[in-house]
Symmetry: C2
Subunit: 360 residues, 2 copies
């Protein structure tokens, strides 16, 4: 079992990574009732074990459909109404058991239900364990505009059991690994090299390796959000690959890509963009691109109109006063956040990756 | 011009009360753009003056229909989408120019839009100036359940110009005065006596008296929320009259009463309840009831089913683990918060006030 500590203005909290991590919930006492926000299939598979390990025998599940469409304001309202009907009050606890959607939605509801109740993140995907469940960001989408409403609200605890990853589909598993690769790029040669050696052949059932991978990749995010809780600056580096990535997701109506897959394309593009801006040694760029590619194949982007995708870029909410803050790799373990990137290079990087001009 | 200071964990902020208070907005600089959430009729009447006084010539209005139904999650989503379409980013400023609905909705949107942007409360009703615009509570209703989702989020500034009260309807004006009376009960004989002497014949156009009234009544709330920002305990006293009041509002589908009117009935009932519980000298109870009654006539409650109204009481979100925390006056300037009230007395107080048994 590994324990990380996240510093937060609303109180520090622990991230527990390892088999049986849910047992850490036993230490949370004094709540009038406990609720688990999750998906039906997850509850069927893990509900009993969760109740047993967490010591919350009378925990009540609140089920939401799987998929990004659950991350809506209407759904948040439904969950809140269900909480009220089932007797949740200000001293109830909400556990978000699931992937990024359940975590973002659960955090949003918890942070606003009766103006805020305590919640726990119990992530069940690689993406959620290494990224989205950490840092206290919550959100819902509005009319396809991702994360337009949300809060910063620290959970009481994050409990990540890598054993639950065994039930992920290969595609969902791979999608999450891209976020781990992102953290490796941000971190430095140590983690990057470690992941480079273990990505080939890595499977959802390799619980032991995954425990280390999750803990190490999560530590990268924990370090960043502990120093910049509310995205004053440093936290922006976590958006490596996300500017192009969000545009790709939006251009395809959030139907074609899993989030990590879009970020993977985005990382390939900003890596190329950094090369074009003379910020990145092409040999290092190639190493980054190779690791991204080693995770697995990505859904096609060859049919997407360049104007359409690039036209969606400024919608990224990191844009301040209309500008986009690009996160560009300058090396392994070194990134630069800058709005000063020529539009022509932005288009060129997109085009070259789209057309496979750059051999990745 | 009077200046109050609210202490808040997210930074202290000022409440400016007086003619020309909107000019204080000139000191808020460095925003990429400014938006005003308001109602069409308010914007028509005050928009020009607001733009001129606040020095925000290019301010953009976002209009919502008047009435409680605008305080919905769907409306919050619409406002957020409109903000995005009009180019609002994380460094935009939102001003809520209106009454309690606009303030609660505007605060909710501002506190969640892109995970939080700065906002200003510019209240235009008595109720909002003495109560709802102060303290950083934001909220929306879900399926008729009042304030089910919300946040604690301090505004940057509150600017209350009593001159705008001149355009209030007599009914809306009176409704707000009940909240001022509530604060007088909480405050003590000084403010209570001052208000007792000025309520008879007070009109929306009496700007000078209203400036003092608003500032003094607001000060009561400011003192409370500065000591208990997130309703750990003390802040509960502000709910004097609200437990019955919310039940009355809900029982009538939020159509019959203005909020202050329901609170007025609620204050009459808890005053009687306090008498029945031997906590309040009936002579003082009569003085409180007389001041409430002096504000004006209230919509009828004689037709409301006792079981229905009382059955709606436990939904009050101050209930922890199912109990209700009653706020009972023990004197002028002295209240007790307690869950220990016999159900029979709760029903009797309701019945007596409903049937006019108690002469108020």
């Amino acid at each position: 079992m590994r324990r990380l500590l996240v510093k937060s203005s609303a109180g520090d909290y622990r991230v527990i990574v390892g088999r049986g991590a849910w047992q850490a919930l036993r230490r949370l006492r004094g709540y009038t009732s406990s609720f688990v926000l999750t998906e039906a299939s997850l509850w069927e598979r893990w509900g009993r074990r969760f109740a047993r390990e967490s010591g919350r025998g009378r925990v009540q599940p609140i089920l939401v459909p799987s998929g990004e469409t659950s991350k809506s304001l209407a759904r948040a309202g439904n969950v809140a109404a269900e909480l009220l009907e089932r007797g949740a009050d200000r001293r109830s606890l909400l556990v978000a058991l699931g992937g990024g959607v359940v975590g973002d939605l659960g955090g949003f509801v918890a942070s606003t239900y009766m103006r805020g109740i305590d919640y726990v993140q119990a992530p069940t995907t690689v993406l959620a364990q290494v990224d989205s469940a950490l840092g206290g960001k919550t959100a819902v989408n509005i009319r396809g505009m991702k994360n337009l409403l949300g809060t910063f609200c620290a959970p009481r605890l994050v409990v990540s059991d890598p054993a639950v990853l065994a039930s992920l589909s290969p595609r969902a598993f791979q999608s999450g690994l891209y976020e781990a690769v992102k953290h490796a790029i941000l971190s430095g040669p140590g983690l990057f090299g470690w992941i480079e050696n273990r990505i080939p052949g890595l499977k959802p059932g390799h619980t032991k390796i995954l425990e280390t991978l999750v803990a190490r990749a999560a530590q990268v995010k924990v370090d960043v959000v502990s120093r910049d809780e509310k995205e004053a600056g440093l936290r922006r580096i976590l958006n490596l690959g996300h500017t192009y990535g969000h545009a790709l997701e939006e251009a395809t109506g959030y139907r074609r890509f899993l989030h990590g897959e879009a970020v993977a394309w985005g990382m390939l593009m900003v890596t190329r963009l950094a090369e074009l801006a003379n910020l990145l040694d092409p040999a290092v760029g190639k190493r980054i691109a190779s690791l991204v590619s080693a995770v697995g194949p990505l859904p096609r982007i060859c049919d997407l109109g360049e104007d359409k995708v690039l036209g969606l870029l400024p919608r990224d909410k990191k844009a301040v006063g209309g500008r986009i803050h690009w996160v560009l790799p300058e090396g392994i373990g070194k990134v630069r956040v800058t709005p000063d990137v020529p539009q022509a290079a932005v288009a060129q990087a997109f085009r070259e990756i789209q057309r496979g001009v750059v051999n990745v």
